[in-house]
Symmetry: none
Subunit: 133 residues, 2 copies
């Protein structure tokens, strides 16, 4: 059972979808009727409890009018499509307290030690997509 390792990735996807849905001011039930996917399942997907199939992912992208590639990238296709070259530098010294440091959102997220790298990438993805509007 190699399960579990990918939950970060799924959580990133779910957070991304949830953020986009909230920005579009849709409730779970509204989005459910648009996508013809049950609200319950959407809730679970958004919290990373399940990985949606292509059909569902497609419906979601359609309902939220999202850029397809962006959504797919969040869904785990970071290995081939966009290649945004996230230069990772080296391992950071894992500062225990973020008490002293730079203050932009980007820096603050990167300095947050409680987040995984995937989570940071997802959060920054949402952030940048907001800035592009």
């Amino acid at each position: 059972m190699q399960g579990g390792g990918w939950s970060d990735q799924v959580n990133a996807l779910g957070g991304f979808i949830r953020a986009q849905r909230q920005m579009a001011k849709l409730s779970l039930r509204e989005m459910a009727s648009m996508t013809r996917v049950s609200n319950a399942y959407l809730s679970q997907v958004e919290r990373g409890l399940h990985q949606p199939s292509l059909k569902v992912l497609h419906s979601i992208a359609d309902a939220l009018q999202l850029n397809t590639e962006q959504l797919l990238q969040q869904a785990g296709w970071g290995g081939g499509v966009g290649a945004a070259a996230a230069a990772n530098g080296g391992a950071e010294p894992a500062a225990e307290e973020a008490s002293a440091g730079p203050c932009s959102v980007e820096e603050a997220v990167r300095a947050e030690t409680r987040l995984t790298e995937e989570q940071k990438a997802a959060l920054l993805g949402v952030y940048r997509s907001f800035l592009e509007s």
Copy 2:
């Protein structure tokens, strides 16, 4: 049971995969070991009996060294999103002015003047959901 409407699509995907595999002169079992997906399931996918998940699709694309977009298009992404236009030139300004102030993610987000209140709320919602693991 809705008998078959989408089977055309799946069959197209399966046929495409089978053709590519044979062209690469791989047996089902060879490809199975490369993709870490069972030969049995690959056989079924190739004959349109099942629609593979993202994970499997990704593995297949990787093993066959296929163009990702090409495979996804066969898998059913040819139809819906429409428009999108995706003018994604990619010029990321990255001008982080960072007004000197607090440093946590929460504070940094609240201090970000380019975000609307809704966007801040959405972003912080994702952030907090990540922390609640």
